[in-house]
Symmetry: C2
Subunit: 557 residues, 2 copies
């Protein structure tokens, strides 16, 4: 049996780990007020796995034999649990479907190759058998990049990269590491740390996602201000194709025509299977700090982030929450948390004296890395900008808490789902000048969508991932769903996505296209841009064997 | 008549401007020693334009009428001078051919559209007439990206973007400027400066090259350490295609599948015509300084640049010359230049006392930008690293001189050609760990190639464009050529390029593929990588109308 750990079939993260609110006294009243949900009511956890109606495997004997010849019988799995785990990612749509037993089409087989040679053989075998091949990393995707089409008549193979999880080599002089595509965040950071290095790529999915998945979806981590998006981090990459391996060597920068490296980044399995990458790694800095700040308003917070991006300072993290998300952060604190200082009477009195409307207060985190002297220098530059926008420094506590809690948020979704509420995220990036109008129209669009549904909905937002010319706005939304949760979700999600595009934002800053965002692709990069992309994808996969219908519909033969 | 200024038909730059050595007393003896050329011998300037054998235009009446309808008769040119000026770029191969009258195939017509609508109409007309369309910016390319195939039977249209030269808009809040593709470096910097902005993109060709050309060739400027390569700078771009315009909006970062933006960057006219781009611009910093340093050896210089790239410092320019190029810099100084301090007895005595072998001394330039305090801070960080590697600071003079002379170098090539010597450049990028071995094998390969030819050749090198994981190495080579200069040049150039690839470098860091570097593309990005790229190009241009055979051979119908 293959020893690759997977998340819960019905939700996020490790078995036995879940969101806990008993130590967060402000959480229950906050949720009650926000979406009208009584979290003390008894939960309705997912049905048992045995009660699911899992479609039978269509794997036929000849292909099974070939797969077995390639990876060994013990790494070819057709049991229902493996197939269900490999059917979806972890979007709210995925969770709603898997929990309700709405599994129309599963992969017919899950295979775990041991190395690139086996991946190459699997790719060849899939094409020869006219099967569908879907690469699988950690399964954390929230854009529908993993699911087979419900009407797929061919055999669907889920190719799990979990056994390709090794740090192969570190080039100490160059700050480059060769890492296999299936390595998960914590494992690869641990292996790098043992040699004094860090990748610095920390998406919210970090605990369960993989290097190959990050590349295939053009991921970005919360410290992208310093370390770059995955598109910047990946210098070399290998992609298994039917006739051989695309081998992009690690080059710091090149002028070799349309960038094939950038074609592979974000390709979501549509061009082949990423087997390894050579990535930039950095020496673990002497000081790594995330500090908390408060701004009197969202506008002040946004303007401060923009001025920091344009300044001589270069922090590792820039993040500011709007007032609703700031309130949410306060509501999820434990009495012993680093945020507790924010509730002190002294602070609130001080802020009120400065004329603050505390209901408009925005919480911000800014990260610093480098030598102690460098961090001191950067903090001084930032402090000046924060002050210019009326902000105040509130200490290391909130930052430390943020750093420690950052990967726990996805568990809240399952907690809410158990209680009949749906929550998900939508994020975009846009130029600085577009952020405030985009925010306003998106909040209004969500509220209109909630009104249409007749539900009490919640939406909150933060800015993160600053660039020279703009930043990411990340929205989280939730509501108590009725009998048609997916239809309701679609209505809200579509309103938000359309608002992004209309206001000059992209369909997603770091969550890929998949099938979830595909309806907005032509509006985002123009129909002629889609045509160029289609030419690439169709020519690379004329029979539609590679994760078909993701990003744009596959032409087929 | 169209008022777009062009460079000399036979060489670099503006008429009446040429390299002058009479005020550089060390130049003549240096050249004599380096390549055995007596520069005081009477030059043999290029033959007269009238004596050239220019192939007649094949433009037929019906297409001429269509072109005239689109841009107006006064912007359709078939005269020999315009057609010759639009035949080649400015590589040594180009100059040797045009000077010797070896012009086998010229564009049949040069058209100057006024706006994007006219570009679109021209693209459509070219495809409908099955003509070849070659976009032309400043004509500075040195990789053969502009020339028509000698056996091209179809009508060849050179589409000159010179009239699309406007700064259209600046988004002050976002640091983004919309600029037309035909804008040349000095003009667009002037227009931006009038509004307080700079693009910060300063390739050696700056004085004559255009925004569209920079994008089409994946260019990089000498301050790329701060401002990024053109691939980083360009956020939005518009590309005219037969059925419409690809419109990539300015987004700071996006996860929308294989990046269409990155397909257009480096496309060399193979996908259509770039009409405008939205680019990152920066406020002109209060302080902009380039300082000079000396290192006792090439190894010390390389190690210092690597350590700077890994440090908390982020200078705008990092550059160090090897000993031969340092000697060349000293030889081209004027008695009143900023470099004169380097010749003082006090300095040489001081360095000898420190144990330096002055023949191994390497000249370095490091640039700083920002507030006065920030520049002071950065200089302190760098100074510490320079000292650790035995380097010494030699003042602002050399840096100011470098900054002032930086765009003059191409004129030297014409001066040498007039006297029977061929000079050109080859550059690459590679990981830090590969740079020294790559340098050694490349110098050896060039020397072997010179030996094969029986000539006294010269080769020198500098490092510039530092990245986290590596840098660019830029080689300049020269020799007195015989009766078959192009064959001789090919032999040397090929040896250098092959050495780049064998040692882990790319075929070019910032000079594109064109036809000159195309033979190494499959070795660089692997045959399967070329296959992906071919799929994109062939699907976008099934009949081979767009600048065919550049980057990779066009399939054709």
């Amino acid at each position: 049996m293959t020893h690759v750990k997977h998340m819960k079939w019905w939700g996020w993260g490790d078995d036995g780990v879940s969101f806990e609110h008993h130590n967060k006294p402000e959480f229950a009243p906050f949720v009650q007020a926000a979406i009208g949900l009584d979290v003390s009511a008894p939960p309705a956890p997912p049905q048992s796995f045995e009660s699911l109606d899992v479609p039978p495997s269509r794997l036929h004997d000849s292909l099974r034999e070939q797969l077995t010849d390639i990876v060994g019988a013990e790494h070819v799995h057709v049991d229902d649990m493996r197939r269900v785990v490999h059917t979806y990612g972890k979007s709210i749509r995925d969770l709603l479907r898997v929990r309700s037993g709405a599994i129309e089409r599963c992969p017919d087989v899950v295979v775990y190759p041991a190395d690139e040679a086996q991946v190459r053989a699997l790719v060849r075998a899939a094409v020869d058998a006219d099967a569908v091949l879907i690469p699988f990393g950690g399964g954390t995707n929230i854009s529908g990049s993993l699911e087979p089409a419900t009407d797929e008549q061919r055999v669907v193979i889920s190719l799990d990269l979990g056994r390709l999880d090794q740090l192969l080599d570190v080039d100490d002089a160059s700050g480059l590491a060769r890492i296999q595509a299936g390595a998960q965040g914590p494992d690869l950071e641990r292996a790098l740390a043992a040699r004094g290095w860090t990748l610095g790529h920390f998406p919210d999915s970090f605990a369960h996602s993989t290097l190959g998945g990050w590349i295939a979806t053009r991921s970005s981590g919360m410290q992208s201000d310093k370390y770059g998006d995955i598109a910047d981090i990946v210098r070399g990459v290998r992609l298994a194709r039917p006739d051989g391996v695309v081998n992009i060597r690690a080059i710091p920068s090149a002028s070799t025509g349309p960038s094939v490296r950038e074609m592979i980044v974000g390709s979501e399995g549509r061009l082949g299977v990423i087997t390894e990458a050579t990535v930039q790694v950095h020496r673990i800095p002497p000081v790594r700090q995330i500090l908390g700040y408060l701004f009197p308003s969202w506008d002040a917070g946004l303007a401060a982030m923009r001025d920091i991006a344009a300044s001589d300072a270069s922090p590792s993290v820039t993040r500011v929450s709007d007032a609703p998300e700031s309130a949410f952060s306060f509501a999820t604190r434990t009495p012993s948390s680093g945020l507790k200082s924010l509730g002190t009477k002294a602070l609130t009195t001080f802020l009120r004296k400065r004329g603050w409307d505390l209901s408009q207060m925005c919480l911000s985190f800014i990260g610093y890395e480098g030598s102690a002297a460098h961090v001191r220098y950067e903090k001084r530059l930032v402090r000046r900008i924060v002050r210019r926008h009326g902000g105040v420094y509130v200490g290391e506590g909130p930052g430390a808490l943020y750093d420690q809690k950052k990967f726990d948020t996805p568990y809240i979704r399952d907690f809410l789902l158990d209680r009949g509420a749906a929550a998900d995220v939508s994020e975009t990036a846009a130029p600085w000048s577009a952020l405030r109008p985009l925010y306003d129209t998106t909040m209004a669009a969500a509220r209109r969508a909630y009104d249409d549904l007749g539900v009490q909905g919640w939406i909150m937002c933060h800015l993160s991932h600053s660039y020279h010319s703009g930043a990411c706005l990340y929205f989280t939304f939730a509501f108590v769903h009725g009998d048609e949760p997916i239809k309701q979700y679609d209505h809200v999600k579509s309103a938000i996505q359309q608002s992004f595009i209309d206001a000059g934002g992209t369909l997603s800053h770091h969550h890929a296209v998949g099938v979830e965002h595909a309806p907005w692709l032509a509006q985002d990069i123009s129909p002629e841009g889609v045509a160029l992309m289609r030419g690439l994808l169709d020519s690379a996969d004329p029979n539609g064997n590679f994760n078909p219908d993701k990003i744009i519909p596959t032409a087929g033969p």
